[in-house]
């Protein structure tokens, strides 16, 4: 018994590295299994993902229950080299990282289960699964790392793998075009991030986020770095002026890939959060600029800009979704709107936190925003899975030609209904609980904001009720007479997501206090994150 616990604690120590290493190695072993047999390869991928999930669960459990922060220095020893340079690569995992790791784990499992039948008619599956595992490894790396340059590397791994996957249907020109758009945006964004990293390194001789955060002066150059970081990551997160790639990429990629793309987008959003709150957090709260005798609060400015962008994002997303007639692209625009809600909550939190110094309300807003990251991934993910199932059964994505599918695809219809209610923020679903918190907190910033937010939610409901009516209800259509229900593995994947949506919707308190609160705490008390690594050094 004692031996077993020893092994478990050893595994726990190494789990941050293993979570990234296992899918990375598994990715390049996949083609060998593909040579043997298709089922062998699929089973192997599933085992790899489950193994990763096991380590992820071990790590997340320890962090959320015991409130620890984990660090893993590659090569061992202390985080500083002998000359006092903080250039060693290390993973640092606190509540927020754990929160993101939960999302990534869940979607990795669901995605692989869904791919089992969804992709089985295609050729080139060994390459597909290799890229899929690479993307999973990249996402895990992004959300676990505590090193700026390492973050950039994983950002690029994720975008290269996902770009190739978006263009998986190379026989369709539009899919390749979407992949090209995505790689242009993400390569530019990643280069902005690298530029910012170089600026910070040039001043502080460090690449470690915690060490940088403890030294940062908020000089003129640092401000340029902050702008570059936020704009680079916002490009990848699909905030409005840079959202053009998102509906294309989401809409043209295979549904199983879209599922992971959503997580990759959230991971970029996590990067922006980490940079704003941890890297610059200590300085933002104190910095006041004097421009011609007028004092401007820098954080207030950032908050206001974010709120403005968020409102724009929500509006554009919803309005474009209203006029779209392609099933998957429409969900893509809805996803843009949903990202707007998270940014709205974060912007509201920044405005409140640093201007009025009302920590209680800003915590509430942050809770809402972070909670919504999880809910959005689930809701939009479920809708995309349903759209994929519809495509699988009918080979059709245009809403003008679909109709009467509820007769033949009972379960899929029910799942779509759940996703529809959740994404519109209707009461029994999870979307309601997080959106209510967002409305509540933005109301304190400005009532108009919450009115706009609620209005757009209602419009979103209108959009999807329209889809529900035109695709699933309506008269029987002769060409869909022989349409069959989606295969079992796809139903299982959808059922997992729908089950979690219902669970969180019914018991939001359990989830908020156990998972969301630690993440918010980690964001607000950036000192803990910084102190911990300085203590280790």
């Amino acid at each position: 018994m004692n031996g077993f616990e020893n092994i478990l604690s050893d595994l726990l120590v190494h789990s941050p590295a293993l979570i990234v290493a296992i899918p990375l190695l598994g990715a390049f072993l996949t083609p060998f299994f593909g040579k043997v047999h298709n089922t062998a390869r699929n089973t192997f991928v599933l085992i790899i993902v489950l193994l990763t999930s096991f380590f992820s669960f071990l790590l997340v459990h320890d962090i959320l229950v015991n409130g620890n922060i984990h660090t893993y220095v590659f090569g061992g020893g202390s985080a500083l080299t002998s000359g006092g340079f903080a250039v060693r690569i290390l993973f640092q995992v606190d509540g927020l990282n754990a929160f993101m790791a939960i999302i990534a784990t869940l979607f990795a499992i669901v995605g692989v289960i869904y791919s089992w039948s969804f992709m089985k008619e295609h050729t080139g599956l060994s390459k597909y699964y290799t890229l899929y595992l690479l993307m999973i490894a990249g996402i895990f790396g992004m959300v676990l790392t505590g090193d700026m340059f390492n973050f950039f590397v994983f950002l690029e791994i994720t975008s290269i793998a996902s770009c190739a996957l978006i263009a998986f249907y190379t026989n369709k020109g539009k899919a390749v075009d979407a992949g090209f758009k995505y790689i242009v945006v993400s390569a530019t964004g990643a280069l902005f991030v690298l530029f910012a990293i170089a600026i910070l390194y040039g001043q502080y001789n460090a690449l470690n986020i915690a060490v940088l955060a403890s030294n940062i002066q908020f000089s003129f150059l640092d401000r340029i770095a902050l702008v570059l970081l936020i704009s680079g990551l916002a490009m990848k997160a699909g905030i409005v002026p840079m959202h053009m790639w998102l509906p294309d990429a989401y809409g043209r990629a295979p549904s199983s890939v879209t599922l992971l793309l959503i997580v990759a987008t959230q991971a970029s959003l996590y990067g922006a959060l980490r940079m704003i709150f941890t890297l610059f957090g200590g300085q933002l709260s104190r910095s006041v600029n004097e421009v011609g005798g007028i004092e401007i609060n820098v954080n207030l400015l950032i908050g206001a800009v974010l709120v403005g962008l968020a409102i724009l994002t929500i509006f554009v997303g919803v309005l474009m979704a209203l006029k779209e007639s392609d099933f998957k692209r429409m969900i893509g625009f809805a996803a843009v709107a949903e990202i707007g809600y998270m940014i709205l909550a974060i912007g509201a939190a920044l405005t409140i936190m640093f201007s009025v110094n009302d920590l209680e309300t800003s915590r509430l807003a942050l809770n809402g925003g972070i909670f919504h990251i999880f809910n959005d991934a689930l809701d939009v993910g479920l809708l995309f899975l349903v759209a994929g199932a519809v495509y699988y059964a009918t080979k059709e994505t245009s809403l003008n030609r679909l109709g009467g599918l509820a007769r033949n695809m009972k379960y899929t219809t029910v799942f779509f209904l759940i996703g529809l209610l959740a994404v519109a923020g209707m009461p029994p679903m999870n979307g309601f609980s997080s959106k209510l918190i967002i409305y509540q907190s933005t109301f304190l910033v400005n009532p108009i904001l919450s009115i706009i937010a609620i209005l757009c939610s209602i419009l979103l409901l209108a959009v999807f009720v329209k889809v529900f009516y035109s695709a699933f209800l309506g008269p029987k259509q002769a060409k869909y007479e022989k349409v069959k229900e989606a295969p079992k593995s796809m139903l299982v994947a959808m059922a997992i997501v729908a089950g979690i949506i219902l669970f969180i919707g019914l018991f939001p308190d359990i989830f908020i206090s156990n998972v969301v609160e630690p993440a918010t705490r980690a964001l607000v008390n950036s000192g803990e994150y910084i102190q911990y690594i300085m203590g280790v050094i």
Partner: protein, 114 residues
């Protein structure tokens, strides 16, 4: 002033690259723009590492002379490798796009159906 020339070159390269990415409609030119941004950032990293009168950080035969910082060199190498991968991927996508549409004009491609 003379020491600022690399930084001016960096900013110029990045701005030219951004101009090409945003304003140009030819896909190949967009790719060239991204490559220019990348070279600008790489040059920036290398410039950061250089100290006056320093030699490359190789012990053998360097005597006791000042060496430039090796970490940015490592970062630059990594960034170059990533850049090559991205470049190859973008060009291969362009080949596919050209096969489908017979044009490299971004506007025309947007107008065409499937």
């Amino acid at each position: 002033m003379i020491y600022n020339i690399p930084y001016i070159a960096v900013v110029t390269l990045v701005l030219i690259g951004l101009y090409a990415v945003i304003m140009k409609r030819n896909l190949i030119k967009i790719v060239i723009g991204i490559t220019l941004i990348e070279s600008g950032v790489n040059l920036f990293l290398i410039t950061l590492a250089y100290r006056e009168d320093s030699v490359a950080p190789i012990y053998h035969g360097s005597g006791m002379r000042l060496m430039s910082l090796p970490v940015p060199h490592a970062l630059t190498l990594t960034s170059i490798v990533i850049g090559v991968a991205v470049l190859a991927l973008m060009l291969s996508l362009i080949i596919h796009i050209y096969k489908h549409y017979g044009t490299l004009d971004a506007k025309e491609i947007g107008r065409k159906e499937e």
